[in-house]
């Protein structure tokens, strides 16, 4: 009898061990971005509409914490969160937008209709930056500290109850 005939059984036992362990663990389906705690990847996006500037990594290096909002004119929840973004702007928060797979005229129409809380809007036509910062859908909002490090990720639209949380995270990022 040779020892290597036992290898398949050993591998199988290993699988059983992991599977049995996992079965006893509670399930948590929230998947945070692996980028939280890491600096923004280097990127430079052109402006999404005329008359506003685009977005690049360098814009986040001036020591001031900001919100980075990933949105699109074709996204319904983005309309739902517009009032909350406006409220955050009233509170003095600087919001940088990245429009995903959009057209300038649609972006302009959206802003005219739902207000413009953004200081800059970049156009991410191929979702490259979106994927690079670990966002899997629209809308998502990130808290970026003054050194360009991602501090917090909010998945989905911002509802009224989320505003204080975001303000608190921004305050922490500013310390």
């Amino acid at each position: 009898m040779r020892w290597w005939w036992w290898i398949p059984l050993m591998l199988f036992a290993g699988f059983l061990g992991v599977a049995a362990y996992q079965l006893t663990q509670p399930k948590d389906d929230f998947v945070p971005s692996a980028m939280v705690g890491k600096p923004l990847p280097a990127f430079e996006l052109p402006a999404a509409i005329e008359g506003m500037s685009g977005v690049s990594t360098a814009d986040f290096q001036d020591g001031k914490p900001r919100l980075l909002n990933i949105w699109a004119s074709w996204c319904l929840p983005c309309i739902a969160e517009a009032p909350q973004l406006d409220q955050l702007k009233q509170e003095g928060v600087e919001i940088v937008g990245i429009a995903i797979r959009d057209r300038p005229e649609d972006v302009a129409a959206f802003l005219a209709r739902h207000g413009n809380p953004y200081t800059r809007i970049g156009a991410d036509d191929l979702s490259q930056v979106q994927l690079a910062i670990g966002s899997s859908g629209v809308p998502e909002t990130f808290v970026i500290d003054g050194k360009g490090v991602i501090r917090y990720q909010h998945i989905g639209d911002i509802r009224a109850e989320h505003v204080p949380i975001l303000l608190e995270k921004l305050r922490e990022a500013g310390e």
Binding site: M1, R2, W5, W6, P8, L9, F12, A13, F15, L16, V18, A19, A20, Y21, Q22, L23, Q25, K27, D29, V31, P32, A34, S73, W74, L76, I79, R101, R103, D106, A109, F110, R113
Partner: protein
Amino acid sequence: MIAELGLAALWLAAALAALQLYAGAMAQRPGGEGAAALVRPAAVIQGIVCAFAFLMLLWLFAITDLSVKLVAANSHSAKPMIFKLAGAWGNHEGSMLLWVAVMALSGALIALVERRLPEKTMLATLAAQAFVGLGFYAFLIVSSNPFERLPQPAIEGLGLNPLLQDIGLAFHPPTLYFGYVGLSVAFSFAVGALVTRQVTPEFARVMRPWVLGAWVFLTLGITAGSYWAYYELGWGGWWFWDPVENASLMPWLAATALLHSASVLAARDALRAWTIMLGVIAFSMSMVGTFLVRSGILTSVHAFAVDPERGSFILALLTLYIGGALALFALRAGTVSEGQRFSVTSREGALVFNNVMLSAILGIVLLGTLYPLLTEAFDVRVSVGPPYFNPVGAIFAVPMLLVMAVGPLLRWRRDSIERIRRPLILIGAIMLAALAAVLALGEISVLPLLGLAIAVGLAVASFLPLRGRRLTRVPLAVWGMVLAHFGLAVALFGMASESAFSEERLAAVAIGETAQVGPWEVALSEVLPAAGPNWTAIEGHLLASYAGGDPIELDPQSRSFWAPPQETTESALATRWNGQLYAVVGSEAGAGRWQLRLWWKPFVTFIWYGGMLVALGGALALIGRVIDDLRRRAVLARIAERRGEEAV
């Protein structure tokens, strides 16, 4: 009454399986002739009784008996009859019962007709089959009783998952189960052969039709599942490397390897231990896949009713079946001698290479599927996707496909490259020409480029084994191989073309406006509400014209079901010989505009045509093998008859 009858039949079938296992095991001992006589009848009756239990479940769904929990949870009196019946297996309990019923019927079939192997091996095989069946019966009776009554009959059923209310999907899971059952039979044969140390070419010949049948069903199941995900999920993709998809791909990979190694064993009496190992692995993969899907320990895009308790049960079954078989393998494999030798450049050599590559791809898919599970144990969440599977898989798939073009040209046992030099040069030249032609079309990435070139070369190469032969005298099994290999080339061409040349357009379009994608011009003519028996929808009316030709009407929908509430997209497809336009309508984007997602996918349909050709090839080979077997039987019977006459 009907439910109680079904449950009683299930218990009876379980008792018969226990008897079959006990008698089969006793028959292995000296003086076990009495027990041996019980095994085959027990298997036949078990098959009939278990099939009866499944018929009772079908009946309950047909009459929508709402006092039965399973019917109330999965059916609805207003549903069309075909979906009521499909509801019987469109859930965990019913699908398990269907699985075990088909398995019991297969056992009955072997017990009735299979007499080529030594009787002891057959009895051990049937005992193994009963052992597997017994586990499933316990599973059904203890934790997934399909016949459970409600204390109070429900007033109305809760409907079928709207995503599942689709004729294609009604027949998709059973196809996979038939495949899994075929692999369970192959597993039982492997265990029987190991127990009695009878790993012979005859064993491979007996096992092969079951593997072939399983392989045909798995191929059909994967092809259909891929097309379903493509048009139903509305994401425009046809394969997502999702755990559920991988769960169906892994048994297919193992079955493909098993099929080829069984052919070597049948023809040349080589690869004995390897064939046994693959027989165990192929069935393990179908069980592991079922476990991953049902236990919910991996997150999937395919919504499934998951249940950790059932997961634990399947894991326990897995431990018994696979752990037992692998331990038996470790103890016995040393006593299975290696078999005939062969040179590297021979048909066997090519098949061994193909086997190693297939096993490597299987290992890669398995690792990628289980990796998140492994890291989660250390609190690191990852998701493994196409960036891993595609390139890593290709490392092994590309050499395998190249050898696949050449292998069938080689002779058994010993051959030389020199002898097949001319076809080799032809295949090489075609691949290079295809490579150059694709490069001339523009810049595309490496994998699709290689895929296109290999597909064209393989398509031609797959017909070369027919050259110089009288086509009317070529055996069906060879036609099957040719067709299956050609089908793979067709599918590969579709995959590579889809990934190289697809164009996507996402637009917010107002009524009367047009959007361009590839050679198509698509105009949104109107958006209207639509309604069906249990849903309402917005339906977009699109007029699509290809390169300025006559417009075709497309009506994609975004549906809202109300029992249970759920949103789905119904994509609309315009199919041409050279590809498909894929349109999805989304919700209103404000200002009278509607979200419209368009894809132009050149030759994407080849993926599924190819899959069907592969399955058809497998079916031809299966028919060819069965006919051969029947002929041989007739000849043997005639010889026996003549001997009998001479004796008189």
